[in-house]
């Protein structure tokens, strides 16, 4: 390979991509969107209950009403004398948003039933609030019904809420407090990011190859530079585009969040109480039931833990091996990208337009999707068989290993995984270059895997 030629190819690839409108757009829009999401979320958090709901209560049990106390979001008003059926129709007349009907006491089951009626669908928060309050009332009634003196005090004393505080031991026996929810969030974000970037920039290499082929410029190029020079120049050029974009994203996001935060006083974000933190995690798209099933009850943990919860979060964040993480992120991103990009280039060389790639792309998208799914399993058991093998097999390792790293991975596994990934890249690049050489000069006919195999054997 002639490095002067490769450098020329890299420069063209980089400059044309960076000057593209779509590059500028994603580079500037993504940080704006991230910043907007952060700002909007913090605004919602700090300004909940912007409008109060008026809740009419028809209490037929006679003992629940006192427990329905007003709060930020809801004002409870007594309409117990009204008839539920007719009152339902007259909510607007009384300027009521919700009607809550508490049934008479069922003396056998020692419980009541509750119905809520409203014009607009109610939020989850409302029903859980009412449910909790009615539970309190019913529990108090039941305690009373035993007729034991001081029973409610006894019950309070008996009630227990033990929380597991997790510590991570290092080799010298030092222990640090940790929070598995944080690990999970960090490892998920990393896994998803690396998956997205490999797909995105691998795809960019492929379309760039297709562009040269469909515009027929390739035959001119191939008479001036060798196929391998063209292929690797392209792959390296796009890698530089990716790194530029990362850098700009990080810088721009920090700048925008800083500036906007300074203007509207985003400090409130830091003062969020744990319950709000739990809500943030829900709003950011994590399904609470999914979290629970993974054994990481983030919101209950947050609610149950009093002050000091934020300290655990901070300590946990501080304990994540950031240096290893960042270095690994770049190593695995670069190697994973190189591996997939070289294969994407080979596939691009076999087709003349983007629409024909779908079938040929399948062997690349399937391992990527599998890796993505293993990430979600890796939380439950970061050192389990699936996570371990997923982080060793080169086609899934860039994504899975990244998700495992926050939990700590033995050095030998890291090194082995990197070596395997690198060797696979070398082998795949060699295969891809062979396919690419023949593929880029094949016109007019839709290529299949059989053709790719034939080209591979041809030279």
């Amino acid at each position: 390979m002639n490095f002067r030629t490769v450098k020329t190819v890299i420069a063209r690839e980089y400059l044309t991509k960076v000057k593209k409108k779509s590059f500028l757009l994603t580079t500037f829009l993504v940080p704006v969107l991230i910043a907007a999401a952060i700002v909007v979320m913090s605004l919602i958090m700090t300004q909940t209950g912007e409008r109060k709901q008026n809740v009419a209560v028809i209490d037929q049990s006679g003992f629940v009403l006192p427990y329905l106390t007003d709060n930020k979001a809801n004002t409870y008003l007594d309409f117990s004398t009204e008839d539920p059926e007719s009152f339902k129709q007259r909510l607007d007349e009384f300027k009521m948003d919700v009607l809550v009907v508490v049934s008479p006491l069922d003396t056998v089951a020692k419980t009541v039933s509750v119905q809520a009626y409203s014009k607009k669908p109610l939020g989850v928060d409302f029903s859980s609030e009412v449910s909790a309050k009615v539970d309190d009332a019913v529990e108090a009634y039941r305690i009373d019904s035993y007729g034991i003196e001081n029973l409610s005090q006894i019950m309070k004393d008996v009630k227990s809420n033990v929380r597991v505080t997790e510590y991570t031991l290092d080799d010298s026996g030092n222990e640090t407090v940790s929070e598995s929810g944080i690990y999970m969030a960090v490892s998920m974000v990393l896994g998803i990011f690396i998956f997205m970037f490999i797909t995105m920039f691998g795809g960019m290499v492929m379309s760039s190859v297709i562009e040269e082929k469909s515009s027929r410029v390739v035959e001119v190029l191939i008479s001036s530079a060798k196929a391998t020079e063209l292929m690797f120049g392209k792959i390296i050029g796009v890698a530089l585009v990716a790194l530029t974009q990362f850098l700009l994203w990080i810088v721009l996001t920090l700048v925008i969040v800083g500036v906007v935060g300074g203007i509207i006083g985003l400090d409130s974000l830091k003062n969020m109480d744990p319950q709000q933190m739990a809500q943030v995690s829900q709003m950011s798209g994590m399904d609470p039931s999914q979290l629970e099933s993974l054994g990481v009850a983030v919101d209950t943990a947050a609610v149950a833990a009093p002050a000091g919860e934020m300290d655990v979060v901070v300590t946990t964040l501080a304990n994540i091996p950031w240096v290893t993480l960042i270095v690994s992120f770049f190593i695995f991103f670069i190697l994973g990208y190189l591996l997939y990009a070289s294969l994407f280039a080979a596939i691009g060389s076999a087709v003349e337009n983007e629409a024909d790639t779908q079938q040929l792309q399948l062997p690349l998208t399937i391992p990527l999707m599998v890796a993505y799914m293993i990430v979600f399993v890796a939380f439950r058991n970061p050192d389990g068989g699936l996570a371990f093998w997923g982080s060793m097999i080169p086609f899934t390792s860039p994504i899975v290993m990244l998700a495992r790293i926050p939990y700590g991975v033995p050095m030998w596994q890291l090194v082995l995984s990197i070596v395997l990934l690198f060797l696979t890249f070398v082998a795949c690049a060699w295969v891809s270059a062979k396919i690419y050489k023949v593929g880029i000069l094949m016109f007019g006919k839709k290529s299949t895997f059989k053709d790719l195999w034939k080209w591979l054997k041809q030279n």
């Binding site: 044309t16 515009s215 410029v217 035959e219 001119v220 190029l221 008479s223 034939k454 030279n459």
Partner: protein, 304 residues
């Protein structure tokens, strides 16, 4: 010694034989026509000379030595399947292709500016290729082929896509480059331009070399020893046994154009003296060479 010597080149793609022991020598400083019907193997031979394709057998010599990747920088190649990056500016694109051929950025810029001025297309530098018409893009493509002053140019159908005015411009440029000492391999189906431009040719058909040599020599070889005679007279010339037969005679108000087939062993001079004895007013007497087009069709169909 030729600038390019192909010796016993063989190439097959799987079962299919593309070139079968083809030997061609391209003399330096000439325009060399590479002819053949579609699918004969011309493009494969061109790609082998450019080192895009590696032959299964035989070797290519450049200036008498086995060709290397560095020699390819001295070749300018205009492929038949050509194109440019549609979204890229003309100037950037031309700079890129020139630099791939080993020119420095400064050299490339200076040389390109000169060519753009010569073709009167200075305003196109900042235009995107997709804004150009097909003919305009072809001009840019021609410039990118020759900008690095290659000592050998391989032009595959260089006139396709040009209007007659621009085709003439390109034709003149080709001749000018030849005068400056470049060698040009011209692959085309246009036999008129072969007669007009080429010094020598090679004809490939069905993976094999059919004929190679100077254009005039080949035309003479394939001539039937016919003479075109234009004369004025009130009667038609008649065949003379042992000397010539009149193959055709067109009388245009007393001015005749006749084709005479000379008998074997009879020279043009002998025929001319015989004609002088006829007492005709001879306007012209010339050897009638077959058109390249006819030779091409004859050789290709004979093979079939």
């Amino acid at each position: 010694m030729g600038i390019i010597e192909c010796k016993e080149i063989c190439k097959n793609f799987g079962e299919k034989v593309a070139l079968d022991h083809v030997s061609v020598e391209v003399p330096k400083g000439q325009i060399f026509g590479l002819l053949g019907p579609n699918g004969a193997g011309k493009t494969t031979l061109i790609r082998i000379i450019n080192r895009i394709t590696i032959p299964n057998g035989g070797e290519v010599l450049f200036d008498g030595r086995p060709i290397t990747q560095r020699d390819v920088e001295k070749i300018g190649y205009l492929p038949e399947e050509r194109g440019l990056y549609r979204k890229m500016e003309v100037g950037d694109q031309a700079m890129y292709l020139a630099q791939l051929k080993g020119m420095s950025a400064a050299e490339a810029r200076a040389a390109l500016k000169e060519w753009f001025v010569r073709f009167g297309i200075q305003d196109w530098w900042k235009k995107k290729v997709e804004e150009l018409s097909k003919g305009m893009a072809q001009k840019v493509q021609f410039i990118t082929t020759v900008v690095h002053k290659p000592s050998l140019m391989i032009l595959d159908e260089p006139f396709s896509g040009f209007d007659p005015v621009n085709a003439e411009l390109i034709r003149k440029e080709i001749l000018r480059l030849k005068d400056e000492g470049a060698t040009i391999i011209l692959s085309t189906h246009n036999m008129e331009s072969v007669e007009e431009l080429c010094d020598s040719i090679a004809l490939i058909n069905k993976s094999r070399l059919v004929i190679t040599g100077g254009v005039d020599e080949i035309r003479r070889q394939h001539g039937n020893n016919n003479i075109e005679l234009v004369y004025t007279g009130d009667r038609a010339v008649e065949s003379q046994a042992d000397c010539f037969t009149v193959l055709s005679d067109v009388d245009n108000a007393g001015r005749h154009t006749a084709v005479l087939g000379l008998a074997s062993g009879v020279t043009a001079n002998a025929a001319l003296s015989a004609l002088l004895g006829e007492g005709l007013a001879i306007n012209s007497f010339k050897e009638l060479l077959p058109r390249m087009n006819d030779i091409f069709i004859k050789l290709v169909t004979e093979e079939a």
